[in-house]
């Protein structure tokens, strides 16, 4: 398969999912997009009660088959409108770990019930701010969204609770790098797409279940936890993003170069045998990877999934991403392709013998 074709597909996939990403509670457009984009490789699809997307690629083995799940999240960090000020300015509250340093002057989209409205995040102008104020990051409470609309129109169209997001954009940089708004975790969803495509020709014993989870960024991993309880997989891997090596950093520990392959998590959230499967497959297939040490919570859906249904063995696979939780999150398409390849190869080896081995700790 010519590499260019794969790259182009991934880029289109990212564009689509970056466009639909939204804060917790507004994942429906992303579910619809996954139905379209993952659909061709799936035998069954549905949306769970809490808004996660679940798809099944049936295995070739005889029933009952083991179930192996891969989960990437649909939701994104953002804001909700808390109040409309005199003059029609919108006050905001954060949803998830928004980077406060770069809110000033950002373009946003207010997802009003009647249709999205473009706006700009403003604050008291610099010439009216004291020297001290100009050196500090403006607190979210002092920021507002300016829609350039008549205040009466704003009050009518924008009820409190309306979600607000960065203006979505996807840029192609050099060397197959892509910068976009909400690549966390469109990149993970794209890895699952690459794996689904490869598994179609590769073949797999176990049922391969893909989950687009709701509400990862909002805390408590609500969408993934409930979807896992629903699907009851025998093993699961969370595919998320991790810190790409970034310019000007001192100690490189815990960051991964863009284009150097995915990072495989190590720690209490990462089942040793399942994790060994990923490492073995990568070594055998010559897929480059990094090892990400996670001494506590992985901060991914795997952390929630691990402790439901009497315990589910989990692993964490991550795409290096620069500038996390900014509107210009940057990844390498190569890493997505490599991670998808790794995931497909690993999933194809999951059978009953492997699943039974998962409870045999040293």
């Amino acid at each position: 398969m010519p590499v260019e074709v794969v790259l182009l597909d991934i880029l289109e996939f990212l564009r689509e999912l970056c466009r639909t990403a939204a804060v917790r509670g507004y994942e429906e457009p992303s579910c619809a997009a996954l139905g379209r984009l993952w659909g061709p490789w799936l035998d069954e699809t549905r949306t769970t009660r809490l808004g996660s997307f679940v798809g099944l690629a049936r295995g070739r083995g005889p029933e009952p088959r083991p179930r192996f799940a891969a989960v990437a999240h649909l939701d994104a960090v953002g804001f909700v409108v808390t109040r409309v000020e005199d003059g029609g300015f919108l006050r905001l509250a954060k949803v998830g770990g928004v980077d406060r340093r770069l809110l000033l002057g950002q373009e946003v989209e207010v997802l009003a019930p009647g249709g999205p409205l473009p706006g700009v995040i403003g604050a008291k102008p610099p010439h009216l701010s004291s020297g001290e104020e100009r050196k500090r990051v403006v607190p979210v409470e002092e920021l507002y969204v300016d829609l350039g609309l008549d205040p009466a129109v704003v009050r009518e169209r924008v009820p409190p609770g309306t979600p607000v997001h960065y203006r979505r954009q996807v840029l192609t940089l050099r060397n197959g790098r892509v910068s976009g708004t909400y690549l966390d975790d469109a990149a993970g969803l794209a890895v699952l797409a690459v794996a689904l495509e490869e598994l179609r020709s590769l073949g797999h014993e176990a049922d391969f279940i893909v989950i687009g989870s709701a509400g990862e960024e909002a805390g408590r991993f609500a969408g993934a936890v409930t979807a896992a309880s629903d699907v009851r997989p025998h093993a699961a891997v969370a595919v998320d993003v991790t810190f790409g090596s970034y310019p000007g950093q001192g100690d490189p520990t815990g960051t991964f170069p863009l284009g150097g392959g995915p990072a495989i998590g190590l720690g209490p959230n990462c089942h040793p045998i399942l994790t060994r499967l990923f490492r073995t497959v990568a070594d055998e297939a010559g897929i480059p990877y990094g090892l990400e040490v996670m001494p506590g919570s992985s901060g991914t859906d795997a952390w929630g999934v691990q402790t439901v249904c009497g315990g589910i063995p989990t692993a964490v696979l991550s795409i290096p991403l620069r500038y996390m939780h900014t509107p210009v999150e940057t990844v390498s398409l190569d890493d997505i392709r490599l991670a998808g390849h790794l995931l497909a190869q690993a999933a194809s080896r999951v059978d009953w013998a492997f699943v039974e081995g998962l409870s045999c700790f040293d």
């Binding site: 300015f89 002057g105 950002q106 409205l117 829609l147 060397n175 500038y323 509107p327």
Partner: protein, 354 residues
């Protein structure tokens, strides 16, 4: 009326949009100059550039010589060098609020290569670091290059870096764009130059260079054009936003042109200022005073030249100037144009002499 009739044989286009999408840092104003040349070529008496790069458009040849100045340059970033990992180091061009830089999509150099201004993930920083405004020396542009050599292929030191902001109508009246300071002025001046000639005036439309770095183009133009009086049309801060009390708001969006009393470079010529206010009152044009005494405009560059040139600034209120996305009210733009037309008419009829 936002859309200008471009004349026979030319595709219809929106001049304000074209002007704001063009990129022109101080000293590198070629793109805006090209847009204006295309629009004004063949419609004014004379169109030429001077030694510093001002674009001068003469309309009419009456005895009263009037400069109307609008600056072509905008604030932005410039490539300062490359580092080993393939990043571009940048410096500010003009008075940029550095707080707005991280997390920003940009276009690099003339080929407009896409890039981003990144910031280390907030998760990796301690609490103090996460609260700190990043100074520009710690910022960089990431175009995806993997080595110093590759980065050098993309952009050379001195190449411009612009904000990738699209022009957009937010409502019937409000537009969003980069560089509204001072493309609104360029737009208004272009419209003035397309008016019929006024018999007694020589209208000297000056699209100035290097305003943002010290009003330098305007000074040069005033020296060789020797006008009787000068008006600067600029964009000015509108701080009519939450957290700012009325005396400090400077101007309000939608309340008409802002007549300046003084700024950091000039106390406006009192008789021109009074005349502008009188005209606005008599003709029912909404107007407001600019309630800020700092910053500078081309009027401040012009008035000290030769033996002294009476000068005043009329400004269009713009929210978030010197940031990547600013807002202006189209009615304010039209009313500013109306007020300047009234002034030129009164000069033409001899009703006013400074």
């Amino acid at each position: 009326m936002l859309r200008l009739d471009p004349g026979p044989g030319r595709p219809p286009s929106d001049l304000l949009e074209e002007l704001t999408q063009a990129c022109s840092l101080s000293g590198d104003e070629g793109e805006v100059r090209a847009v204006l040349r295309r629009w004004l070529g063949g419609t004014v008496c004379e169109l030429y550039t001077d030694n510093i790069g001002n674009l001068i458009c003469r309309r009419g040849q009456g005895p009263v010589r009037v400069i109307v100045a609008a600056h072509m340059d905008e604030v932005g970033l410039v490539v300062a060098g490359h580092d080993d990992s393939g990043l571009l180091r940048v410096k500010e061009s003009g008075g940029l609020d550095v707080r707005v830089l991280p997390g920003r999509a940009v276009l690099v150099g003339r080929p407009k290569v896409p890039g981003v201004i990144g910031a280390p993930a907030v998760h990796l920083l301690d609490e103090d670091e996460a609260e700190r405004v990043l100074p520009s020396r710690e910022l960089y542009v990431d175009v995806g290059a993997r080595s110093k050599e590759e980065a050098a292929e993309v952009a050379a030191p001195g190449d411009p870096v612009y904000f990738a902001t699209s022009f957009e109508r937010l409502s019937d009246r409000v537009v969003k764009a980069k560089a509204l300071d001072d493309r609104v002025g360029c737009y208004i001046l272009a419209r003035l130059l397309l008016d019929p000639e006024r018999e007694n005036l020589t209208l000297l439309g000056v699209f100035t260079v290097q305003e943002e770095v010290g009003l330098r183009g305007a000074r040069v133009a005033a020296q060789h054009l020797a006008p009787r009086l000068a008006l600067a049309v600029d964009g000015t801060s509108a701080a009519d936003v939450p957290g700012v009390e009325p005396p400090q708001t400077c101007t309000h969006l939608g309340r008409g042109p802002a007549v300046s009393l003084m700024d950091g470079t000039i106390v406006m010529h009192e008789r021109i200022r009074e005349h502008l206010v009188g005209l606005a009152r008599r003709h029912g044009v909404p107007w407001q005073y600019r309630r800020l005494t700092t910053a500078g405009t081309d009027a401040g560059g012009i008035f000290l030249e030769r033996t002294g040139i009476p000068a005043c600034t009329v400004a269009v209120p713009c929210r978030y100037i010197h940031s990547p996305a600013s807002l202006a009210d189209l009615d304010d733009i039209e009313h500013t144009l109306t007020l300047l037309r009234l002034l030129l008419d009164s000069l033409d009829k001899g009703e006013f002499e400074p």
